[in-house]
Amino acid sequence: MSPNLLLPEASAAQLLRRRVLGAAGTLLLVGTYLFLVITQPTGIVEGLGQGVALATFAAYLIAAVLLLLAVLPDLPVSALTLIPVALALNIILGQFVGSVMVPLYLDSIGTVLVGFLAGRRAGAATGVLSTLIWSLFAPTVLPFAAGAALVGFLAGTAARYGALRRPYLAPIAGLVAGVLVGVVSSPVAAFVYGGTSGVGTGAVVAAFRSMGDSLLSAVTKQALISDPGDKAIVFLIAALLVFALPKRLSGSFEFIRRYKVLGKSGNK
């Protein structure tokens, strides 16, 4: 899709504002994560605990919103119309998987699909928006917005560097993304909620805790067991869906054409 010819281009001040917002969001996210991992605050219920929970919640959420505000005005219309479809797919396919008691989430297929088709900025925006909208039905997902943004960002990055040129590369990229997402999201689970919200994942965390691990360590190990497998499957399914799209449709995304995401044959 070519950029709109009727509207004025963004001014230098607007571009600078978006860059500042993006940098502030990234710094806030990285700073909070490093602070939590280095200091590992104890006493999650009393004293400092409430402050850590509130600060972690606020910092992760504000960072996600800043990144969204930085990215949103830059997205082409083709990506903007794809994002609502992806958000609905996250919810519908997530519910379909959840209804059959399969121990997977698969609730980020839409986010990864947007990352593959429209790039990492669109993927990150989809992740944040998906969490914000889903929080209207399940408020506990709100501080995981930054993790969801990372899923979309990593999907776009993987596609840009050739993860869709060979079908077996997509699940490998998913595995790597799962490790990173698990590591980034575990401080939220540990310090905001004091653990996980699922019975199965709670049992795994309890097992690690009884072996002498700290809460953050136990939650991180649980995330490293669950997330890489889940993301590998999600990346594979999303890649197969992209391969199933008619070339006329996949080729209409500038990101696909520019970075030869599907290899030479996919860009004709």
């Binding site: 409430q50 219309v77 119309t81 653990g195 919200s197 709670g202």
Partner: protein, 252 residues
């Protein structure tokens, strides 16, 4: 009373929710958390949504409570008295208290958040975002998702029925489930991406996103008092928790 609650500006409801969650989390006292939950249920009852609020909250909080009991109650390393024991597994009093406090903290967020979701009219929220300084894309994305979701649910249901009619995807076990997932997901994604592509052409032709002032069919009722309440609530969401948590003047 019901009309007054549902006619509040969506941002006013959200700011009050932020304030309530921030203060209840910072205070972390069981009676305040319980009072907030009871108050939310009362507001829900006035708005005629109490049953739905209780059901949705229970569905989220029950697995969370069980999970927290396992993590802090069963795997607790404190030396408090044992409440119950099942072979090598035991539930300590200290561990159960920690789990209950964390569950109450989460319950406040869940109940307040769900009450917001039930009280706020989605159309009003979209209109309020459009009228705010947020990028115009944000309102479009929220509106589009909320209106696409039921449509795509219906489409997915129709695809499932059509596949069942031609007796496709009737296998059992994991292979059958994967086949059903493929038979539903592929047509749904292909048709939805095609629709999105068609929509993008029309939107681009109409000069989306529109910049500058433009008229809106739906107006969101707002007032000077509500604007004041929003600012005070946001300010207090930072100041009150800071006053509770930061030890001033040697209080530590």
């Amino acid at each position: 009373m019901k009309r007054r609650i549902t006619q509040l500006h969506p941002f006013t409801v959200l700011c009050l929710a932020v304030f309530t969650v921030a203060v209840a989390t910072a205070a972390s006292v069981w009676w305040l958390s319980c009072a907030v939950i009871v108050m939310c249920l009362a507001i829900g009852a006035v708005a005629g949504k109490a049953r739905k609020l209780a059901a949705l909250s229970g569905a989220i909080m029950l697995p969370t409570l069980l999970s927290l009991l396992m993590i802090h109650g069963l795997a607790s390393r404190d030396s408090s008295p044992v409440i119950a024991a099942w072979g090598p597994i035991s539930l300590t009093r200290g561990g159960a208290e920690v789990a209950m406090m964390l569950a109450l903290r989460t319950a406040v967020l869940v109940v307040v958040g769900l009450l917001c979701g039930l009280l706020i009219d989605k159309h009003q929220l979209v209109a309020a975002i459009d009228l705010s300084p947020a990028p115009p894309q944000a309102g479009y994305l929220l509106a589009s998702t909320l209106f696409l979701l039921p449509q795509m649910m219906e489409k997915q249901h129709a695809i499932g029925e059509a596949q069942a009619l031609r007796k496709a995807g009737t296998g059992r076990g994991l292979a059958g489930w994967l086949q059903r997932l493929r038979l539903r997901a592929v047509p749904l994604v292909l048709s939805s991406v095609q629709d999105a592509h068609d929509r993008s052409v029309h939107l681009a032709a109409r000069g989306f996103p529109a910049r500058g002032e433009h008229s809106r069919l739906r107006q969101v009722a707002d007032s000077q008092i509500q604007r004041g309440v929003r600012w005070v609530a946001l300010l207090c969401s930072v100041l009150v928790p800071a006053a509770i948590l930061v030890p001033f003047g040697g209080a530590a």
